[in-house]
Assembly symmetry: C2
Homo-oligomer: 445 residues x 2
């Protein structure tokens, strides 16, 4: 049983509530919806991601004997309740936005319909899984829009928040349009293309920088990208020009170079000039070092001759907006719509659907948040993905999701595609939903 | 093989460099040091954390046959190199700051001394592990200082970045002085006290709020904390006063209430007044909802009668400073000190030690970053923790680390203990280290 698989990766209150539901035989159907209450000011849209991992989690949910024993040992739970957990499985239905779909505040991206205890217990981990990949896909999308077709690679594992974040950031950025990742395990686990160059330590471990270049090149003749900025970036470029003929004689071509510090635009111009003058016009330039969408845009605006970018820390931790206000709320129980009315945190009740209108030219023209049973104009976005606890389809290939993201980004209104905070994309609330809300607010509790 | 354990949770360039080292038989001793280049403006000090997980990683590092096969299948590596990986183990030595030690910019918190390939490969995951727990412990310390002895509980799992972050945030905040966590698995895995109340969904699933309170209380009579803000916080407090005598007759005492929205100070005052007037003076008040050290200080300054705080998203994602500029750099190879000179990223070379001076009253009085073999006044902080790939001591109990943190926080200069950005704590560079650096800069590369 690994950390990520354990049913105990949940909040204690889920289990205390389950004990209440167990004692009260509250087992009727509950409907929970997962959505983001507000977009951060730094995000004009979000991209749904993480659904496959969420469905894996639901399909495999169970309590091991060891977990039951431990729960019993805490003295917090009745023997009867702990014993009943042996049969706990997720048997519900799920509707969701396909991964890679753009969405906005208050729009459900996932709905769970299941007996109350099942739908309740999964809250913590469902948010945990969908929050992170959605966060990273949404950040990566801004980089993709900024990079205007240049190569992007995820370099963020080391400062991602733990193992799972490092691995899933590779997935979320790749499905958004990154060319790949430096994280090797993401290659093995998801078939994502992996990219790598060299670190400063390899240069430092040699007494002479040119020896490091030559030996590294000889050890992987098919894939030589050299790092230039360990001591003096331009001096290193000259060394490379000197070295290239000798490598060519040995059948080794230099594919690219990486610059990781200083004024990247200026260094890129100097290095390009030195390499071109030395006949190395085919050698590509990769920039890295605290990059994000703003710096990428600035580098391209300055006409820095960079062919690609490694984006690390600011991607994998989404540093400008490191969390989303994502929640999972009960909207219906035992056939009755339900509404939380907490100050500043009130929800729209009932089973809802997102209806998206598209203009003749393909541009998104506004959404309507309505009730599932009162269709509105536009395309309904939530689709069935699980029934009776089993997936309806095999996992979508990442290539399909990448195509969807490409289409979604192209369809966004222009103002939403920039780095600037745009006026919010229009999301209307259907009149039937407003009426239901008013009705519920008149009920005593 | 789980995600967290896989040796392939590393950057591709580590493996391409290893292939070079393999081809060149570069197997001499390398010394790498892990440190933070700059403190974020929001942090006056950092607390080292994550060492136990880092040592676990080093002790268990190996390539499985499946991983070797996959590496071979990429076509990037020679058969000879891949075959040699079967025997790869970490056999080096490690020195480190004990967990919970305060530290500052440029001070190594961990040093690895091992054959170059071993010391190189572990870079990505060592940073990944030490970065996250150090990040969270350092954030949690600010909450602990702000809360002035009130109860603090980690509520952040759902918006932590993935499974491992959720679990390790519980550990990092507990070792810093939090009373515990809502994350159940942290209880099972680390023996950390777990705390839980109820969610709004339990209230919403009942038609009447008072029924929800009564049934929840009856289902866990020893541990009743009720959530008041689903509809109307003060109305819920009055319901509680009405309900209490009936519960008392059944032998059930209400332990506490939680308020999760609105003006927490004002609601807390109203609720305290209602509960006290109703004879419920013993019932404690827990506040939650987007809390951090600033809001906790403000609530206490406003004399909000809150007895404790649940801190979630802003803790587990360290939202005001979601990453640290933590790096792992080669400082010596084959007996020769090494130095990276990249612009803005130059390092202090050689094997270093942190010497800490303490004033007569116990307050930290300034550090000196010096060479290990040129002792300076003060206490050396880096201690041996691993040799020949094995731990020197069993893992420290968390209670020992908690005691250390308590002493460290008490010993910090007063200006560093506030929420404001203080002038940097003094860290001198020893003259011998400056001289070594100058010497190395005169060497050609």
């Amino acid at each position: 049983m690994t950390i990520a698989d354990s049913v105990l990766l949940t909040d204690l209150y889920q289990l205390t509530m389950l004990q209440t539901y167990h004692a009260e035989r509250m087992n009727e159907t509950a409907v929970f919806e997962l959505f983001v209450r507000r977009l951060p000011p730094e995000r004009n849209f979000l991209l749904a991601a993480g659904l496959e991992q969420a469905l894996d989690y639901l399909e495999n949910l169970c309590f091991t004997a060891e977990e039951q024993d431990w729960l019993a040992s805490t003295g917090r739970f009745s023997a009867d309740f702990v014993a009943a957990l042996a049969d706990f499985r997720f048997t519900g239905a799920v509707q969701a936005l396909p991964e890679g779909t753009a969405f906005f505040a208050n729009e459900p991206i996932l709905r769970v319909i299941a007996p109350l205890p099942q739908a309740q217990l999964v809250e913590s981990r469902l948010i945990n899984l969908l929050h992170y990949q959605t966060l990273i896909a949404s950040k990566a999308a801004r980089c993709v829009l900024a990079a205007a077709g240049k190569l992007l690679v995820d370099f963020g594992l080391r400062r991602a928040h733990g193992a799972e974040a490092g691995l899933l950031a590779a997935r979320a950025s790749y499905l958004t349009g990154f060319a790949g990742t430096a994280t090797v395990l993401a290659g093995m686990q998801f078939g994502i293309p992996i990219f790598g160059t060299m670190a400063h330590s390899l240069i430092q471990a040699h007494d002479r920088e040119e020896d490091a270049f030559e030996r590294f090149a000889a050890a992987q003749p098919g894939n030589v990208t050299l790092l230039l900025d360990t001591y003096d970036t331009e001096a290193a470029a000259y060394k490379l020009v000197q070295l290239a003929p000798r490598l060519r004689e040995r059948g080794i071509a230099i594919k690219g170079v990486r610059i990781d510090s200083g004024d990247l635009a200026e260094h890129a111009r100097q290095v390009r000039r030195i390499l071109d003058a030395g006949g190395l016009t085919h050698v590509t330039l990769l920039g890295s070092g605290d990059l994000d969408e703003h710096r990428i845009r600035a580098l391209l605006a300055a006409e820095a001759p960079l062919d690609g970018f490694g984006v690390g820390t600011r991607l994998d931790a989404s540093t400008d907006a490191p969390t989303l206000d994502m929640v999972y709320k009960l909207q219906e129980y035992a056939g009755q719509p339900r509404r939380k009315r907490s100050e500043g945190k009130a929800t729209w009740p009932g089973r809802k659907q997102v209806y998206r209108r598209v203009a003749a030219d393909g541009t998104l023209a506004g959404d309507c948040l309505g009730l599932e049973h009162y269709p509105q104009p536009g395309q309904p976005l939530l689709r069935p993905v699980m029934t009776q606890g089993r997936r309806l389809q095999p996992p979508e290939p990442l290539s399909v999701i990448r195509d969807r993201v490409r289409a979604q980004l192209a369809a966004l209104p222009a103002a939403l595609r920039t780095d600037e905070t745009a006026p919010p994309y229009p999301v209307d609330i259907a009149s039937e939903l407003r009426e239901l809300t008013t009705q519920l607010d008149q009920k005593p509790h």
